[in-house]
């Protein structure tokens, strides 16, 4: 970091802390104005879309799971749904419910990780969850237990917690018996209890007065708090089917990032993730989660990036309730998967990864070989909006020292739980005050 005259500053963070993956941040300030903000995502390009070409249609759930160790299920589910769309088949009934249940496990472990290990230390002025463990041991112990239950649910349905191996186009390789799921019920009840305690913990934090005006984009389902499927909606009136995603959204290459940016063609950048999801779907929360949200001070919408920690906690409680309902109603299907036959076509699939909307598109030839693949992860879509948040934070806080400014800017980024590794195609802060 350089320290130049107040009228001219450059702040640089060479490696962003407590985010998933690696990136940097550079802020240039001239005559008291922010000249340029860049999130530099420098993880090397990963070429997943490229090496999916020529692969069999049954391979993407296992290949794309490798994009992320935190949210592999999101990749598996978007991949399956896109390919099933291309093959004109629909997975419903108990197989769909098992997919939702698997996704609940991922939300529990991913949200619990971000809340406690990445985000919560910021609210106590701490640098890590290890420091938090020293000052608030019960919270970290509870987080470990809650995360573990999420992992165990992933193992039960997916075969293992990281990069599950039991997911296939059409359903699963093996499905659990009703008895197996009912045996897991006490752990889900324990998870629900702990998730409710987490909502109370984060509701009591001090939140800065900051709201964002980005257009919110998320899935919306007629009856459920959308995770696995639904139409794509925004608070600016967008209401489209998944297949229309390419008509309304475009990806852009920018020089300072190995991750593509994204924008709504008709307008500008937008935000996906918990704030968008909650604001567009709070009326679809499970009654217990909705009551917890109200008690935690959330209205029907939430535009405070800092309060996203409360939204994540409410969503964790919600998926615990959903998981219990799925377990109670479950009857094992006749077969672990429906039969699918290869055919030429293009399919679209969007699901709600913990960090937001995740869109996949595949084009298959008549043998079911992939001719083209497009994967649009949540962090890619959020980069431009995160840069806007950074610019706003820095503009409002130019009187801070470089160190204070850098710390605040990192918090502004962590609010959005970016997954750089997923997006790469991310963080160090450079502030240039010139």
């Amino acid at each position: 970091m350089t320290h130049e005259p107040k009228s001219s500053r450059t702040l640089a963070t060479e490696a962003l802390a407590r985010v998933e993956g690696e990136g940097a941040m550079r802020v240039q300030i001239h005559d008291g104005r922010v000249q340029e903000i860049q999130l530099n995502i420098y993880e090397p390009p990963r070429f997943f879309e490229g090496f999916l070409r020529g692969r069999h249609y049954q391979e993407p759930p296992d290949i794309t799971a490798r994009i992320c160790g935190i949210c592999p299920v999101a990749y598996q589910m978007s991949a399956c749904r896109a390919i099933e769309d291309a093959l004109s088949v629909q997975v419903d009934g108990p197989l769909r419910e098992l997919r939702r249940l698997l996704y609940c496990g991922e939300w529990i472990q991913s949200h619990t990780l971000h809340i406690h290990f990445l985000h919560l230390p910021d609210f106590f002025g701490l640098d890590s969850a290890v420091e938090l463990a020293a000052t608030n041991r019960p919270a970290v112990e509870r987080a470990l237990e809650l995360k573990k239950i999420g992992n165990e649910l992933l193992e039960l349905i997916g075969g293992r917690a990281i990069h599950p191996i039991n997911v296939k186009v059409g359903g699963f390789y093996r499905v659990p018996s009703r008895r197996e799921l009912l045996a897991f019920r006490p752990k889900l009840e324990q998870a629900r209890e702990m998730a409710a305690e987490v909502v109370l913990l984060v509701a009591g934090l001090d939140f800065p007065d900051l709201e964002v005006s980005h257009e919110f984009v998320a899935l919306r389902h007629p009856e459920e708090y959308a995770i696995l499927d639904g139409g794509i909606v925004s608070d600016a009136g967008l209401a489209i089917a998944e297949a229309e995603f390419p008509d309304h959204f475009e990806e852009l290459q920018v020089e300072h990032s190995t991750a593509l940016h994204a924008r709504i063609r008709e307008r500008a950048n937008y935000l996906v993730g918990p704030l968008a999801r909650y604001s567009l779907n709070s009326d679809r929360l499970h009654p217990e989660a909705a009551a917890a949200a109200r008690a935690a001070g959330l209205g029907p919408t939430c535009r405070s990036p800092f309060r996203s920690i409360v939204v994540r906690a409410v969503e964790t409680l919600d998926v615990c309730e959903v998981a219990l309902e799925i377990v109670d109603a479950y009857e094992a299907p006749d077969a672990p998967a429906i039969t699918v036959e290869p055919r030429a076509g293009t399919g679209h699939g969007a699901t709600e990864a913990p960090r937001g909307l995740l869109y996949h598109r595949y084009s298959l030839d008549h043998d079911g070989i992939i001719a083209d693949a497009v994967i649009t992860p949540p962090t890619s879509q959020n980069q431009a909006s995160i840069e806007d948040d950074l610019a706003r934070f820095v503009s409002l806080n130019l009187d801070l020292s470089d160190d204070e400014l850098r710390r605040g800017a990192e918090v502004a980024i962590r609010n959005h739980d970016p997954c750089i590794s997923c997006a790469t195609h991310f963080l160090d802060l450079t502030v240039d005050r010139s």
Partner: protein, 152 residues
């Protein structure tokens, strides 16, 4: 031996980084009554794996600059582990972070020993390189001897 856990760490798709899993599997064959766990190194799962144990043996590739195939034994609390990468990406939160987190939570085993072999090849692909492959039998023998001695 229920109060002992042997934990193999690493990534079998990166050549010599697969030595932890390979050695742990060989220990499981020799000591069927011992709990053996294969993990990728993520800190919270590591703490879960060794919490409440009297002895935890962690096996991983250990890079110090010694010649490939060199055996290492590091006793946590006696020997020095590298400082945890404080405040960095969660993707770098591994063994050192797990030790620090476990210590803060009082969840570390009574004795935590890291056994490792100096790697020579972290390139893509399965299978150990010749230096690590040749060292594997001796590594497994030392771990089996230490676990058996601790239970005697």
């Amino acid at each position: 031996m229920s109060d002992v856990v042997v934990i193999g760490l690493g990534n079998p798709f990166r050549r010599d980084d697969g030595l932890g899993h390979a050695a742990a599997a060989a220990v499981a064959d020799r000591l069927p009554a011992t709990t053996v766990v294969l993990l990728d190194g993520e800190a919270t799962r590591l703490v879960d794996a060794w919490a409440g144990k009297r002895l935890a043996v962690v096996i991983d590739a250990v890079s110090t600059g010694d010649p490939p195939g060199t055996l290492h034994r590091i006793e946590v609390g006696v020997d020095t582990l590298p400082d945890p990468p404080a405040g960095r990406s969660t993707h770098g939160a591994g063994l050192a972070t797990a030790v620090a987190l476990g210590r803060a939570l009082g969840r570390n085993p009574e004795l935590l020993v890291v056994y490792g072999v100096e790697p020579g090849d972290f390139s893509d692909g399965r299978g150990l390189g010749p230096s690590v492959r040749n060292a594997l039998a001796q590594l497994v023998e030392r771990i089996v001897t230490e676990v058996q001695a601790s239970c005697a």
